[in-house]
Amino acid sequence: AAMLSLDFLDDVRRMNKRQLYYQVLNFGMIVSSALMIWKGLMVVTGSESPIVVVLSGSMEPAFHRGDLLFLTNRIEDPIRVGEIVVFRIEGREIPIVHRVLKIHEKQNGDIKFLTKGDNNAVDDRGLYKQGQHWLEKKDVVGRARGFVPYIGIVTILMNDYPKFKYAVLFLLGLFVLVHRE
């Protein structure tokens, strides 16, 4: 292991300034591409947050903490009972993933609806803002169209243990800088 770290330091010293700048640019490209892909997803799905991580057990046994959900939020898609929606309560940051229990839609398309977590005994009225009885289209972040289990655990870990997040970012940065192509 000692030999390995010496080689690594030698590599860094051997890179002249031009190569270093090149690697930094490379790194910048990767970050921009990732951002572009994310923004592109936002446009295609119509959702401000096209991929979300399930944070609670209120939709078990369908979804567990750490599952990843893929959302769309197209205005043409009407909200109907049985759908799984991700919504935000006014004034709160954390999105909630629950199922639509009841809808009342007017002729002009205005809709108010009620949600409930599969694993909860009662509907979500108690979670809504004080005095708020229904959710509206504006509260919706998106509709769950597909999912992948477990993968989101990484983001939960990074959130709960910031040291872990810095370690991951540091290692990634190091890897990109040192990897010569």
Binding site: R80, V81, G82, I84, K102, I103, H104, D118, V148
Partner: protein
């Protein structure tokens, strides 16, 4: 897929509350709604290797003066892979209160009950499927005040 219902309405505060009792006979195994049926195989087609569970729900859909479209889930059930795919439930009461947003249940002749389900895979797309065989139910013109539930 068959459902039989009786119904009553009762005013609570200012919104109509409907009471529905129903029987559900469903054969999820042989559903013909967008899912293929294999005639000579004895396998659970709907519950394939990638289906973790089905979230079944019975919903009532109707129109009122106040709202062009109303949908209320009356009952739901989670059916895991491995559970008996044939449902035969009799005299079920609705799990959730069937409140209207206003007084649109009284005299409403056309409430449609449909059984649908959300297919939850182990990983992948989450489709919503509607069962065939919905039932239309009328509510009476008067309120029942003495019905015990």
């Amino acid at each position: 897929l068959r459902k039989n219902v009786e119904d009553f309405t009762g005013p609570r505060e200012r919104s109509d509350l409907g009471f529905v009792t129903f029987d559900i006979t469903a054969d999820i195994l042989n559903g013909k709604n967008g899912l293929q049926t294999y005639r000579n195989k004895n396998t659970l087609i709907i519950f394939d290797w990638n289906v973790k569970q089905l979230f079944l729900y019975l919903s009532a859909e109707y129109s009122t003066k106040n709202n062009a479209l109303n949908q209320v889930v009356l009952w739901d059930k989670i059916m895991l892979r491995g559970d008996n795919p044939r449902l035969s439930l009799k005299d079920m009461k609705s799990k959730y209160f069937f409140f209207d947003d206003g007084n649109g249940l009284k005299g409403n002749r056309n409430i449609t009950l449909t059984l649908s389900w959300n297919v939850v895979p182990n990983a992948g797309i989450l489709p919503l499927v509607t069962g065939s065989g919905h039932v239309s139910v009328p509510f009476p013109d008067t309120y029942e005040t003495t019905k015990s539930y």
